[in-house]
């Protein structure tokens, strides 16, 4: 078959077009993907926007660090030394005050230190006496509102701590002081709601829950201390800490980077955070100030604050962290929280039956996670957690030993270089922030162009066209079998 060149070109064009279509279909199956375009960019998550401007914002590494005790904690030697210094300075200040002159802010701050120091050494009653005297003095001078914040907060804490034993046995006076302590906590929140960046409210919620549980221990296996239902089935695999679709689609992550350079009140970002707590009937069961679900980072930071700066580890804190992490899809952290909680089960409640139910609940939550992640070796994970916890505890013990030795050697706890040698030897203890706290996208400036599988289309077009051209050449070169010349 012999075709003219234009017709031949037309034919190979058709062959090439057919190849193009077939290549497009093959390309759609991802056999040949066009090279990726654009840049990988990391953006913050909504909970990186603090509740209050300049406040602390949550990172998941913080949760890990409290669960494994990866933070510094002062020892008794430190507080004994500090108490001596505070007492000395108070003694020096009193004679220097002129008749009719008001005490200085420094004087009142020292009274807070005195109370906190007595509390740290186990003398809650002594601490409360100091703060009551401070309150009387301040009220006599006409101090009001925010000026009384630290007095309210500290006095409330010391009263609660010092009277619960007697209140539980029915001592009416102790019960009255316990209620008084809680009211001081509420007052402190009222006059300074942004104190500790809003975390103080969770101290009140914790005490309110405990008071309700004393009257009705059944609540302990119905709710955690922030109102998450323990009898609710949770599948963490599909859950996230934020509304990921809107965060990415509307460019809110990019806007948040700019916002964080100059944070302001009233931002749209915190509305994207997953809410937890105050579940069904919580308000009926517990007389509490925490009446509706809140962004998960708020109670989490509250618990972290209480754990680090208050009395330390607590099975109720660990349980609440586990329940919160389950609800935001942080499965490894949730598993770790439950593991830590089980280790403190004997402190959950005096009743051994309730302790058993507590352990059963934690193990049930862990088994949900373990079934969803079967490739993990959970025996190894358990050992890893124990190793990390031991590491954190050793760090704290070393820190306190170091303090005691330094103080014995005459070093001043007020010297800004007091801990230099310790930090030089041990390095930072806080865990680094990882990818769990980043929103990662591939930002493609040509995203408006369809992602056409042109490599496959060109290859197939070329193949078909070339084969057609070769076939045409072969057929046009074949000799003519029909003789046209006469015999």
């Amino acid at each position: 078959m012999h075709l003219s060149k234009p017709k031949a070109l037309g034919l190979i064009s058709i062959a090439g077009f057919v190849g193009l279509i077939i290549g497009g279909c093959a390309g759609l199956h991802g056999w040949f993907s066009p090279p990726a375009r654009g840049h990988i960019k990391e953006f913050p998550l909504p909970h990186h926007v603090a509740q209050y401007p300049a406040g602390v914002s949550l990172r998941f590494a913080m949760v890990h660090d409290v669960l494994t005790e990866r933070f510094a904690k002062h020892g008794k030697a430190y507080y004994r030394k500090r108490n001596r210094l505070v007492d000395n300075e108070l003694q020096e200040l009193k004679p220097k005050r002129k008749p009719g002159e008001n005490p200085s802010d420094r004087y009142f701050a020292l009274l807070d230190d005195q109370g906190a120091g007595l509390e740290a050494l186990g003398d809650s009653d002594g601490a409360a006496r100091v703060l009551r005297a401070k309150l009387r003095e301040q009220e006599a001078l006409g101090y009001k509102s925010k000026q009384l914040y630290t007095t309210y907060a500290n006095l409330g804490t010391f009263l609660i701590h010092g009277n619960f034993v007697k209140a539980r046995t029915g001592d009416l006076s102790a019960k009255e002081q316990l209620r008084e302590g809680l009211s001081f906590i509420h007052k402190s929140i009222e006059v300074n709601p942004e104190a500790h960046f809003g975390r103080e409210v969770w101290q009140a919620v914790a005490v309110e829950f405990m008071l309700a549980a004393i009257d009705d221990p059944g609540l302990l296996m119905k709710y955690d201390m922030v109102g998450n239902r323990l009898d609710q089935t949770i599948d963490p695999s599909g859950l996230r800490a934020f509304n990921a679709e809107d965060w990415g689609r509307f460019g809110m992550g990019r806007d948040a980077v700019r916002y964080l350079e100059n944070p302001q009140p009233n931002n749209p970002y915190r509305g994207m955070i997953t809410k937890v707590g105050a579940a069904d009937d919580w308000n009926k069961a517990v007389n509490t100030s925490h009446s509706k679900p809140v962004p998960f980072d708020e109670p989490t930071l509250g618990i972290i604050g209480m754990w680090r700066l208050g009395g330390g580890a607590n099975p109720h804190f660990a349980l609440a962290l586990g329940e919160i992490m389950m609800r935001v899809g942080q499965r490894f952290l949730a598993w770790t929280a439950y593991e830590r909680a089980v280790g403190m089960a004997d402190r959950f409640w005096p009743d051994s039956g309730i302790q058993e139910k507590f352990v059963e609940h934690c193990r049930k939550r862990q088994s949900i996670i373990e079934k969803q992640l079967p490739s993990e070796s959970w025996t190894e994970r358990r050992q890893q957690f124990q190793d990390e916890l031991d590491f954190g505890r050793r760090y704290q013990a070393d820190y306190q030993d170091y303090e005691a030795k330094q103080i014995k050697g005459g070093a001043s706890i007020e010297d800004s270089h007091f801990y230099d040698a310790f930090h030089a030897k041990h390095g930072p203890i806080a865990s680094p922030v990882g990818q769990e706290d980043k929103f990662v996208i591939n930002e493609d400036p040509y995203h408006w162009m369809p992602s056409v599988p042109y490599p496959a289309m060109l290859l197939f077009a070329g193949l078909f066209a070339f084969v057609a051209a070769c076939l045409l050449r072969v057929t046009s070169s074949a000799p003519n079998m029909v003789s046209t010349s006469p015999p």
């Binding site: 208050g310 402190r347 922030v433």
Partner: protein, 87 residues
């Protein structure tokens, strides 16, 4: 009666532990420094980099460029073969 009292005492002791831990935010000279240090320990850097250049990605890129190149050569070749046919 003794059991009741000791039970009450034990649960009261436990309450000390539980509510002691809720002695959250004691306000003393440590607080401001603690907050500052706490924040500084968890700084986050948000990075930007060209699209992932993992070995897998590079392999896919080579495959794509190879297919594009070969297809283009074959297309050109088919035109040359057609035009250079004997008349």
């Amino acid at each position: 009666m003794r059991q009741l009292l000791s039970g009450g005492f034990l649960s009261g002791m436990l309450m000390i532990i539980l509510t002691g831990s809720a002695a959250a935010c004691i306000n003393d000279r440590e607080v401001a420094n603690s907050e500052r240090e706490f924040k500084s320990h968890y700084k986050t850097n948000y990075q930007e980099q060209p699209s992932i250049e993992s070995p897998e990605h590079l392999k896919n890129q080579l495959l794509a460029y190879g297919a594009t190149g070969l297809g283009s050569v074959l297309l050109l070749g088919s035109v040359v073969v057609t035009l250079k046919r004997p008349s």
